[in-house]
């Protein structure tokens, strides 16, 4: 029997399964206080899913406020935190929106669909701002490459990201693939989407205009993903529990492609007053958020929702997370035109409600009232927790256990062997096994894609204006020092964008952590958010939005704290992009920045010694800013042929990637006063390797000297080194003077073999 508002009044003491739905007793009591009665089962469903950690940010809110409070002064932010995605002014009347979100738990349960629907969800967020989605990126993290479960989840996740994005026609232009034991039982699947629109095309999720209609369009509503968000994202996987496969949503990228085209047509035709995508919490979320942001009232005829499965109960319809659905607010006068454009794209659409000024969200089911709530209490005024936190008891010991006693290679042979080992390490090896499954060409505007430092797309084909994006995070650094670890992630992403020639502009983030109920995890979270907010203030670029994913742990063991940071940059003409590959003989190779003996959390300590301890590299954001200005000026004034940031694996990895990507060798040497091992493998920040034509050398070095950025000439591009080193004519070699020589082919074999061999 349907539980109506009348029943709730007449039968106030009925026992309700709030705990099974993830609500705490005091949260349930709060709902009763708000309503002045017990909730109906439909209301309980709505509150439970909207007050889940995933939807309400109840544990993170108090910390996320810093992103607004410490925001640098900026005039580029057109829509800030709180909307589906932030919007940034990139000039010439163009606005860009971008956001990254997690789909970690669903991807562990069902790798292909979990990852696929992660892409689908973030694309709809971008679409709902009024933007045409233009590209995706995916930061991924797995357990050890050789672990059996990695072989289960990784191919499925990669195929899911590719299967959905490829079929949707969005180029995949970058991301990350990282392996660490802490992700074995809890892989991370973060998905980023970027879209662009003209300034006047920005749309918001608000239900304005009493009497306007609420139109649900796209795929039909089915039983997939019921409670997916609350059940999957707010609980930790425990052994022996029931399988949760039915809660994972199933994606249909073809429908999403139609939804994109239909949505952009109705938006451009001026037929939409407000728009919201349906993601986590489905209709509950869309109706309550639209109403809460608008006139404050909405009436919904739930029985009008088109169903894939006619047996669904109203509670299930409210909670269903069926994919590829959108909700639009349309005036009665525009309804016919709206429906006609949907029909053109063979997208089903139906009016399910209307905007009212009642201040209530009311839902009826075949004439009976089943929901009557203040929408704000569902959408925005959920519980807020000041979770207790404290510095982990093990933190001091971890930081004291530095890498100084680890055995270091010193002879030329040892250094050469270390180099070949490092370039083949799973975290440093070529990721083309992954990226070759993604379409990077579709739409014809991809200027740079993985393995470049940043992905870059052309936005305006007339002027060449474009944007660059990078996502980064070193979870080991964040574990050693979460405050500076978050700053380091920001610094790396900022540096990558600048290295491509773009001016860093704005930040998004996806904060992946363990359980917020664990005070030590909560401390990591508090430290990381503070570090990120402080860092953004120092760099002068605002956070435009983001996502928090808690409960990433296996049993009591949380993942490495993983605050993934995405930085967006703008470039006024993508013709000026700086690639990572050097081009021709005689070009000079310069190392910018200072190299110190910094191996705490380094890839060398991790891969060679299995060691994690000490302090991460020092972060100096003023230096990062200076380096960024030099990299951008070098691009703008045509001084740089190539540039590549120095990060994981150090200068050695940077030089190897530049040689591999160009296919041409180089002769390199060490600056005075530094030992070879430190120069090659330390992960000191604020550095990049740049390539300068001889004709530009003086101008470039004088600019660096005038600005106070150390620049060391460390090599020259040379395709003719083979014979001198004892190889046949034409053999390309990377030579480290007075140390060792290695052929580019040998580097390629080591670098490119790791993933295919492991995943065969």
């Amino acid at each position: 029997m349907i539980d109506t508002v009348t029943h709730a009044v007449e039968d106030p003491d009925r026992s309700q399964p709030f705990a099974e739905l993830g609500l705490k007793p005091d949260e349930y009591q709060e709902i009763r206080d708000i309503l002045g009665r017990r909730p109906t089962s439909s209301e309980l469903a709505m509150y439970s899913v909207m007050w889940s950690e995933h939807c309400s940010y109840k544990s993170s809110k108090v910390h996320l406020r810093q992103f607004g409070e410490k925001a640098p002064k900026t005039d580029i932010l057109m829509v800030g935190i709180g909307e589906n995605a932030g919007v940034v002014d990139i000039g010439d009347g163009w606005a860009v929106t971008f956001k990254v979100e997690s789909h970690n738990h669903p991807s562990y349960v069902e790798p292909y669909q979990g990852a696929a629907t992660g892409v689908g969800g973030i694309v709809r967020d971008i679409l709902s701002m009024g933007a045409r989605p233009l590209a995706v990126m995916d930061p991924l993290r797995f357990g050890p490459l050789d672990a059996p479960d990695t072989r289960r989840v990784m191919p499925g996740i990669v195929a899911g990201v590719g299967g959905y994005g490829n079929c949707l026609g969005l180029p995949n232009i970058g991301g990350e693939v990282v392996f660490d034991p802490s992700y074995l039982g809890n892989p991370l699947v973060n998905a980023l989407c970027i879209g662009a629109m003209r300034h006047e095309d920005i749309h918001l999720a608000s239900a304005k205009g009493v009497g306007n209609l609420v139109v649900l369009y796209g795929a039909r509503t089915g039983g997939d993903g019921i409670g997916g968000v609350s059940v999957l994202a707010s609980e930790t996987f425990s052994e022996g529990g029931p399988t949760k496969r039915p809660s994972v949503q199933v994606g249909d990228p073809f429908m999403e492609k139609l939804l994109i085209e239909a949505t952009l047509e109705v938006l451009h035709a001026g037929l939409v007053e407000g728009i919201q995508d349906l993601g986590g919490a489905g209709i509950s979320c869309a109706t309550s958020e639209l109403a809460s942001n608008g006139e404050g009232g909405m009436h919904v005829w739930l029985d009008r929702v088109l169903l894939r499965d006619p047996t669904l109960s109203p509670e299930e319809i409210l909670m269903s997370e069926s994919q590829e659905r959108m909700c639009a607010i349309v005036t009665p006068a525009n309804l016919d035109a709206f429906l006609k454009l949907c029909a053109k794209w063979e997208v089903e659409a139906v009016v399910i409600g209307e905007v009212t000024d009642s201040g209530r969200l009311t839902v009826e089911w075949h004439g009976e009232q089943i929901v009557d709530v203040p929408p704000r209490s569902v959408a925005h005024d959920g519980p807020v927790y000041e979770r207790p936190f404290h510095r982990p008891v093990w933190q001091d010991a971890l930081q004291a256990d530095g890498p100084d006693n680890l055995a270091r290679p010193s002879t030329p042979d040892e250094l050469r062997a270390t180099l070949l080992t490092m370039v083949a390490a799973p975290n440093l090896a070529s990721k083309s096994w992954v990226t070759s499954q993604y379409d990077r060409y579709v739409l014809g505007n991809t200027v740079l894609a993985q393995p470049e430092d940043a992905g870059m797309i052309r936005i305006d084909e007339e002027t060449g204006r474009g944007v660059a994006l990078s996502t980064d995070c070193n979870g080991r650094f964040a574990k050693l020092d979460p405050y500076n670890g978050a700053k380091l992630a920001l610094a790396e992403s900022y540096r990558n964008v600048a290295a491509s020639g773009a001016v860093p502009l704005a930040v998004t983030n996806c904060l992946n952590f363990g359980s917020p109920e664990d005070p030590e995890v909560m401390w990591q979270f508090a430290q990381a958010t503070t570090g990120l907010a402080d860092g953004c203030l120092e760099l002068g670029i605002p956070v435009t939005g983001g996502n928090v994913s808690f409960y990433n742990q296996t049993g009591g063991t949380p993942i490495l704290p993983t605050p993934v940071v995405g930085v967006l940059g703008v470039i006024d003409d993508v013709e000026r992009r700086t690639p990572i590959a050097w081009r021709e003989d005689g070009e000079l190779v310069y190392l910018l920045g200072d190299t110190r003996d910094e191996f705490g959390g380094s890839e060398w300590a991790h891969h060679v010694h299995g060691h994690l301890g000490g302090m991460p590299p020092a972060v100096d954001l003023a230096r990062e800013r200076l380096l960024g200005e030099i990299l951008v000026a070098g691009s703008r004034d045509g001084m740089l042929s190539a540039a590549h940031d120095v990060s994981d694996g150090g200068v050695a990895q940077t030089l190897v990637e530049m040689a591999l990507h160009s296919g041409i060798g180089a002769r390199c040497w060490l600056p005075d006063g530094i030992d070879p091992f430190t120069l090659l493998f330390s992960e000191s920040t604020g550095r990049a390797v740049v390539v300068v034509a001889r004709t530009e050398e003086l101008r470039f070095t004088e600019m660096c000297a005038a600005r106070g950025l150390p620049a060391y000439r460390i090599g020259v591009v040379d395709s003719g080194l083979g014979p001198d080193a004892g190889y046949p004519e034409g053999t390309q070699v990377l030579q480290l003077s007075e140390l060792f020589t290695v052929t580019v082919d040998d580097l390629r074999t080591a670098h490119e073999g790791t993933l295919p061999d492991a995943l065969r």
């Binding site: 490829n166 990228p253 379409d439 579709v442 505007n445």
Partner: protein
């Protein structure tokens, strides 16, 4: 005269903008054609672009074949209208029986996106006339179902009549029989190609500009004929 080249959009077409851009860069006028409309708008040639028409449900290209626009295109192609099918467009041409054979799932079972070397084998078609026979080119390849198959007699016939227009060089990316990347019909006006020439028309966004001659070929032959 600036030739008008139609680019068809099916539900799920993805590379239609790219094909239109390539037509423009090559010097033609791109004309949008809609799957549900059998009006070819007096175009001089047609490109069936890549993508996943109708979600590739049932079989790649199997549903698109029945679109109203395809009835007109099949008729016109039989009358000599130049038609280029790229990737999903190639699949549609096979399903429409304008070209023999079929495209099957890559032998690796993975979708693959990479820069692919090809050798141009035939320059008598309307879409390859601007190449040299034996010319080696590098253009993007991206497909999940790109393995060209046909019975032995058909493969012999295609090779015997010089109707293989391009072959894969190096590692065969998808298990195509006899390394076939593209074929033409007997008359030479209809060409199907699995790799993507429309993604290799600008230095900025493509690995090369080796894809451009596919588009200039047809434009030049149309201008020459008028």
């Amino acid at each position: 005269m600036i030739p008008r080249v139609g680019v068809v959009t099916f539900p799920g077409s993805l590379d239609d903008r790219d094909a239109a851009r390539a037509v423009r860069i090559a010097g033609g006028e791109a004309v949008a054609l809609w799957h549900g409309d059998d009006d070819l708008k007096k175009v001089d040639a047609v490109v069936l672009p890549g993508g996943f028409s109708y979600g590739d449900y049932l079989r790649c290209g199997a549903i698109a074949r029945f679109a109203p626009v395809m009835h007109s295109i099949v008729d016109a192609a039989k009358g000599g209208l130049p038609v280029l099918g790229i990737c999903n467009g190639f699949q549609i041409l096979c399903e429409s029986h304008l070209l023999p054979g079929a495209l099957t799932r890559n032998d690796s079972l993975h979708f693959i996106c990479r820069d692919q070397q090809l050798r141009i084998e035939d320059t008598t078609s309307m879409w390859t006339a601007d190449f040299e026979t034996g010319q080696e080119i590098l253009i993007p390849l991206k497909n999940g179902e790109g393995g060209y198959v046909a019975d032995e007699a058909t493969l012999d016939m295609l090779e015997g009549e010089g109707r293989v227009i391009a072959r894969y060089l190096g590692l065969n990316p998808n298990g195509s029989r006899r390394d076939i990347a593209g074929i033409r019909n007997e008359r030479g006006n209809v060409v199907g190609l699995m790799p993507h020439p429309e993604h290799a028309v600008e230095d900025l966004t493509g690995p090369t500009t080796d894809g451009l001659p596919f588009f200039t070929s047809v434009l030049n032959s149309l201008v020459g004929a008028s």
